[in-house]
């Protein structure tokens, strides 16, 4: 159920811009780690390198000790890592149930054709994430921001990950919605899921993580216990914009 993630000396260049510079960290199985940093620090870019959407310029990414850099995104999903997107972009003309269905699909054309969708599993994931059965046939355009984020989580969860990368899961949510997603993350933690969570909402993040990694300008500036990282001068300074 849990996966270990090791990142070694990750460098990503977009033309002349260095989005991440020599980033290294390790997440032990079952740990929940917050990834924090100001806008443009390179948080999302770390995610897209882990998923292989924007392959790194240099460095290594290991899941459970195995290098995954040579794998395409779908294979990385099968290795047990999955992510949500900062801006939810669901399949816009598909119902909630169908969105989840895509996440549940096997990567075999033959299976797709010969076996029908697993309705129970769709309902199960939806309700685990707090989407009611009455919402299953809705289109994404009819959902609130909170429900869209839930759908994003549901689609990610459907791929049965052992390591989840959550990008700004609380952005644009009401206090109640934050509580729902927070509870969900808590209960998955209890089941052993490994998490790497990006959030600007530190109040919502704090109870969900034990460790934190702070980055700025693409470089790790502090990592360790959450409280220690948040207490360090350099992190405070970077948030106040003086570093």
């Amino acid at each position: 159920m849990s996966a270990k993630l090791e990142i070694r000396n990750l460098v990503k260049k977009f033309g002349g811009l260095t989005a991440t510079n020599d980033v290294s960290f390790t997440i032990e199985p079952g740990q929940s780690v917050g990834l924090i940093g100001p806008n443009g620090a390179g948080k999302t870019t770390i995610f897209s390198q882990i998923m292989g959407e924007h392959p790194q310029t240099k460095g290594e990414i290991l899941i459970d000790g195995k290098e995954i850099s040579h794998l395409a995104t779908p294979q990385r999903i099968h290795a047990g890592v999955s992510r949500t997107y900062q801006v939810p972009r669901p399949f816009s003309e598909m119902s909630v149930a169908e969105n989840i269905r895509v996440g549940l699909m096997p990567d075999s054309i033959w299976d797709m054709i010969t076996r029908g969708p697993n309705r129970e599993r769709e309902v199960e994931i939806a309700s685990a994430i707090g989407l009611g059965e009455d919402q299953l046939e809705r289109l994404p355009s009819e959902l609130s921001m909170g429900d869209l984020r839930k759908l994003e989580m549901a689609r990610t969860l459907a791929t049965s990950p052992r390591l989840m990368l959550l990008d700004e899961v609380f952005a644009g949510l009401t206090v109640n919605e934050i509580a729902v997603i927070s509870d969900l993350v808590q209960s998955m933690r209890d089941d052993g899921m490994t998490f790497l969570i990006v959030s600007h909402d530190l109040k919502a993040l704090e109870p969900l993580v034990d460790h934190a990694i702070a980055i700025n300008h693409g470089e790790v500036i502090a990592q360790g216990q959450y409280q220690d990282v948040m207490g360090s001068d350099i992190v405070r300074a970077s948030y106040l914009g003086t570093a």
């Binding site: 972009r89 598909m94 996440g103 699909m105 054309i109 009819e142």
Partner: protein, 313 residues
């Protein structure tokens, strides 16, 4: 699979209706309907690739042409029987198309459209100059073996083929494969982010599309009994196929069929007033209006009107 009994009832009704038609209409109308059937086949083929996945093919006649030329050359120059040459033509279309266009499926959107367009023009030019002793060069070939005689038989053959293809595609698109293909059209990144190999899916869509195009193309020229490069590799032909699929409703099965019939009959009814190519003025003007107003086609317009459902424009 989300299949309901009334779906099958509607199909049964549709099939019975199509087969009963020759009793009620003139031979002239039947001949028009034969062309509509073939156009429907080509439009379904286009839709299987482009309508679902959003990879727009502007060179579909390239695929149709491989099928058509393969069987024409085999039967005309090497005296193959049609029963053998058509299956070979279908396989040639799938393999040939894949070799040429597989690299192109890696590239995105507009570029894919351009490669297919260039492909069609390339084949058009090559067919005329490379081995004209085989291809018949600019003039093409005539006197090819025909499959049927008489309007009614031609109609039964074309409508059976069209319905068989339509029903199979409808069934396949109802499965999760259909869902996955449409998902590519909406957000390719999220499909691979769901653990599905997008390349494999696109290839599957392409092979199905090529299968239909090759089969349709091969049977079509054995209905016509002749083949001519200018009529085949023609931007107006591409345009007719795409517009048939779009005007009816891309991403559906009934849409391309409806579009093909609508357009074929529109062209036919315009003939007394506008005998030449200027008929396309009405045709394209109408297509443009419908498309600008509702890119999802008449099918969506109708369902919108009936159910007032929220389909995004």
């Amino acid at each position: 699979m989300n299949l309901r009994w009334h779906h099958f009832a509607l199909w049964a009704l549709f099939i019975v209706g199509m087969f009963a038609l020759p009793q009620f209409v003139s031979n002239g109308t039947l001949r028009t309907m034969i062309f509509a059937n073939f156009l429907a086949i080509f439009a379904i083929s286009w839709d299987t690739l482009s309508g679902r996945t959003g990879y727009i093919s502007f060179g579909h006649p390239f695929l149709i042409g491989i099928g058509a030329y393969t069987t024409a050359i085999l039967t005309h120059r090497f005296d193959f029987p049609v029963e053998i040459s058509i299956p070979i033509a279908v396989i040639a279309t799938m393999v040939g198309g894949l070799i040429v266009l597989l690299p192109a499926l890696r590239i995105k959107g507009s570029y894919f459209a351009l490669v297919t367009l260039a492909m069609m023009e390339l084949v058009y030019q090559l067919v005329q100059v490379v081995r004209p002793d085989l291809t018949g060069g600019t003039r093409g070939m005539s006197g090819l073996p025909t499959l049927t005689r008489g309007a009614a038989n031609g109609y039964y053959m074309s409508v059976s083929l069209m319905l068989a293809i339509a029903l199979s595609m409808w069934l396949i698109m109802k499965t999760r494969l259909g869902t996955a293909l449409s998902a590519i059209g909406m957000n390719e990144e999220a499909v691979s982010g769901s653990g599905l190999s997008v390349t494999k899916l696109k290839m599957t869509a392409f092979l199905m599309s090529a299968f239909i195009a090759g089969l349709g193309g091969a049977v079509y020229i054995h209905y016509l009994g002749s083949i001519a490069p200018r009529a085949l590799f023609d931007i107006n032909f591409v345009f007719t196929i795409i517009v048939a699929a779009l005007i009816g409703g891309a991403g559906t099965t009934i849409g391309p069929i409806a579009g093909a019939f609508f357009l074929t009959f529109l062209l036919e009814y315009l003939r007394p007033w506008l005998p030449g190519a200027e008929r396309y003025m009405v045709y394209s003007g109408l297509a443009l209006l419908i498309y600008m107003y509702q890119p999802k086609g008449m099918w969506a317009l109708m369902t919108q009107a009936t159910f007032k459902s929220k389909i995004r424009p």
